[in-house]
Symmetry: D2
Subunit: 367 residues, 4 copies
């Protein structure tokens, strides 16, 4: 049952609420002998950490991860692997919540914030930890990033996974100017240096007015071997769609040419092949690296849309848990574009899906 | 493991190849006492059946379904339920393949058709039933439609699930002219009568030239109760994304405002609420009926893009299994737009996802 | 969800009722390139077939299996594998029910047979196909035997799986006289030729009096590699316990020394080891080939108890579905010892568990 | 995949090694609104705690549990439920390891202790946290007991689950003298006061000689409603068999009359029924409360055998990881009979299986 778990052989179960004592995850199915220490995981968490620029939430969380189980180091592993490694047992990663500002939450306790899960959670569960969104908070994604660090260790260095924002609000990048290195140089994960500059001005306006906008993020995995995935209901692309859509505020996912492919002709859409050295060479990648649910060896390309942050300064009409009409307005720290922080989360989800399929591929084939 | 199974409590496992003796599915988890007979299932299969218009494949398959298990009728059930009902045991549905034209498949045996799963299947499995696409054929979707009929019986009449094509190639409908009744009056499941007429001309041209185009399909479920779904990894929208993306040739999925929401401001995107009679009333539905992965009670709206049929008359460059360069060109019967036949399949997938979550909802809540 | 499915990577879903049109199973996860044809499966079904001796049910079922999907043969597979092979897609096996004697079942419709699932099914489901036990009939085990044949093909010839009856009623074998070849020479799967002769007389008495007795069956798998299994909840022994206990009428399962180990001292129970050629050599096998849930390389030994057939001639007190008190007595064909037919079923279950763990082992280790 | 997870709707994932920083579990699927605080869980942990008598391991662990997620208390829950309750989100329970005596483990690092998982883990994983048994240590069962406390809260007070030791070594109880209250008055969970006195002498001898013996534990659940369970592969009894067999050192499991039923006749074994007030009344319970995999409403009775502790003072022959022959002998604190501490663990497993089936029952039936 996939309530709080995703993956099959590389399984990630996350737990924790925004304002509880801690959040974390259990990664089950990680093979033994994979080099893993807290620093490795921390590096990825630091990329997602709140409070790193004025464009993301100002909550101050050090997000220090602890590995509670599943790894071991002694003379023997030192000699064989060069350090601490996984043992094949479940890896529990914990991040303590520190900045649980003791503020008064009584206002949002009973007021359903439009665009949030307040109303639906209350209707489903009858009880809800409303502090900071509780379980539905984007804070849960820190656990995903931690799990993603383990997934990357399983995948190895050759498989390269990177995310970039290709649109913020109505501002898009110029794909001709794509430079992956740029994504690390601006606070927007933007691969187009010029666009990034414009976005800074654009988003400052949004931020100051207490408004928000959405975004489109592209995630690419390179050097994925041919044949990962599983027809019919374990397709690599349907697993990716599920994974990306499970990220907070995501409203759409596409692979390769995506929605644009609807308007193409069969001639234009066909990814033609020519003989290559070890494998056929594709002349285009409209299929985004997947055919029949299996990887083609081309870059795996997915893109997803994040809606604008629902927490805004302008009052919006709503109702209370008691059914009274109210206006709701969000004060205090917030993200003008939650899509920005979705980039490292999306990389982590891509890594987890691929790690799972790497392991599944072995069980499906060979003898 | 989700290779050939989807759903958790309402589980569907499909089996069968395009040119094997039969295809079908096992539906496990259907509650007892649900009225179900072969006619009910057949009605939905007839909607999907090939050969019904010149715009879909001319393969002649009667697609007669047989229920091999899981139902029972005797005096007692007759008296209690009025006819044949499910017993809570697995329901095996079988459709025999009839039109397995004994044609020569040697040409596609070794030639990788661009846009098809030929190359990836061969790489993964080393062996492949290439006749008509084998397991990767859209013929598998008949099993989904059969399972969907069972799902609808579980959901009952109140939940209404309908699909419509909103785009074919570069032709879109006028949403102002939306009339659900029209979808049954033209071969395109088009809700806009005028657009349907234009599409007939447009698609005839495509068909005659041996080309193909893609499509965008919208699926809507009405009267879904509040609270179905499951955070964090069993979200109703991520399950729908997975389900739709698993349909052959689908390259993108969106919920509610979807990709368009990226360009919206938080103010415009907020679905405001006012007090209603039994439940809050939403003033818009940008969220497409889902908040935090749970249904809001509003119409559940998903949209997905289908790429153009890969089988076209114009030769495309490719390679053989032996690595030689060849040109590939598809002769014979084919669909100018496979998206048309995706409509009933999408309805079935929506029904299956909802039936699963209906059952899951019980296990998650109440006592 | 494990209602009608067992296994994780080698997954078997069975379907069908005793008196429906057919029974069968879908085997999902079988790797590609495994030689498989109907004759192979049929050979195992013939061993389980009813009506082969006077000690088992006289129902006449040819039990002819058809492979509906998942296999392929052409020149290419012929050349590579020598015949028809699996393709990695789901294998649907179907056995049509033939001898559905049109007898009057009205008597058992409302009378709860002691020891049967009549009462519990009615309470749970409210509706039940009571003809011949419906889904709870031992007829379902034919599907398991069919699936077991596929599992054996996955395991290969080196792993040898055999079952033997070591007790019928209060009659036990002399383990000193154990000869596997004998199990094929008497109708009891008895490895002790002398005991088999005694059992014939003993069981004839039981049969003639319309009574029944239970049995204990031992299943042994040889040449299982070291390390198959999965701590903590996928232990090889707990999976075997689950598998054997799921067979109709089974009331107990043990591994190695089993219940007898409770009375042993630590000194007597220890399976000491000495250096061997390729692997350590064990001096005893009280652990039955499993340590910490993982195979040791020694023979995997499990034993299970089957209760006496519940259908007997002597009237037993019971109640009707309406709550009236009645006497129930079973007329017609029946097994004096259902344990006899459990032997091939147990072999099949052992094969399925091992095939699953063979595939799981790959996903758990290596890189 | 069931490596470190058990249950389907009430899912328990345990993590942690004997000598890592902490052990614990994530309970997913617990319904909302169930009263749960740390004291409740602690009470069950205290019953299992090491060091409580001279007959169990002298490791000193306070075993203080922390609830890291999944519960909430505020004015609103206080008013509605009277205190802290579950929210329907995953419950992470953590127990820090305190007494990780910094002893020298180099001796067992390379020496395979007979009866332990040392050899098989090394063969499977190639790397192993050998300190105190690592993941294969019985310490993992503390996590099960913690999860069991949550399961009991889900089940409510009416369902009564109790365990008793009915055999230690070759000493059995007199079932005529069964008194559940006695199980709390002696260190053996023995329901026969006289036997308990004898066992004290008997086990002191075993303990002083550095030897060990096995045990048989009986677990009974009363007031389980009719119809819980799921044919064919989710049977209540096969799930119990799996659960009990997964406990360290267990070698056999039986239900109701168990292995003894093999020797019974059908007449003697039949649990006859008479009309009762609300439900039929059974005249015996050879079936142990399960028919066809579904609960009958009678007490659910299971029994399992635990092998003698493998850690003993007398040297046993073995080999090293390098293949050299050695003698192995366990010094220091140990259990003369690990079966004693299995009693609360078995209760917890019974509770978890029942909580899972309580939730599953809802999804399977009704509408």
């Amino acid at each position: 049952m996939s309530h709080n778990t995703f993956g099959h052989l590389f399984r990630v179960t996350t737990w924790g609420e925004s304002h509880g004592p801690a959040i974390g995850c259990v990664v089950d199915g990680c093979p033994p002998g994979v080099r893993l220490d807290a620093e490795q995981v921390q590096a990825f968490l630091d990329l997602r950490k709140p409070g790193t620029s004025r464009f993301v939430t100002q909550r101050r969380e050090p997000d220090q991860v602890k590995i509670l189980s599943g790894v071991f180091q002694d003379d023997r592993t030192e000699a064989t692997y060069g350090g601490q490694v996984t043992t094949g047992t479940p890896i529990c990663l914990m991040i303590e919540n520190v900045d649980q500002r003791s503020k008064d939450y009584s206002e949002i306790r009973d007021r359903y914030r439009p665009g949030h899960a307040d109303y639906t959670y209350d209707e489903k569960y009858g009880v809800r930890d409303y502090r900071g969104g509780g379980r539905s908070s984007a804070r849960e994604t820190a656990s995903r990033v931690a799990a993603g660090a383990v997934a990357r260790a399983v995948l190895g260095d050759e498989i390269k996974i990177r995310a970039a924002l290709v649109q913020i609000g109505d501002q898009t990048i110029d794909r001709e100017k794509w430079d992956w290195d740029e994504t690390e140089k601006n606070p927007f994960w933007c691969p187009d240096a010029e666009a990034a500059k414009d976005w800074e001005v654009y988003l400052d306006d949004i931020r100051k007015s207490g408004s928000s906008v959405g975004a489109v993020i592209e995630v690419v995995a390179e050097n994925v071997p041919v044949g990962w995935g599983a027809p019919i209901y374990g397709k690599l692309d349907s697993d990716l769609a599920m994974a990306m859509m499970s990220i907070n505020a995501v409203k759409g996912v596409e692979i390769g040419a995506g929605f644009a492919s609807a308007a193409l002709t069969g001639e234009a859409n066909a990814d033609e092949m020519r003989a290559g050295n070890d494998a056929p060479r594709f002349l285009s990648n409209n299929n985004g690296g997947v055919l029949g649910g299996l990887s083609t060896g081309q870059p795996l390309v997915t893109r997803f849309a994040v809606k604008p942050t629902s927490s805004i300064l302008t009052p919006r009409q709503s109702v209370t848990a008691q059914g009274d009409e109210v206006d709701v307005r969000t004060k205090g720290r917030h993200d003008p574009c939650v899509g920005i922080r979705a980039a490292p989360v999306a990389e982590a989800m891509m890594a987890c899906v691929l790690a799972d399929h790497k392991l599944r591929h072995r069980g499906q084939t060979g003898s």
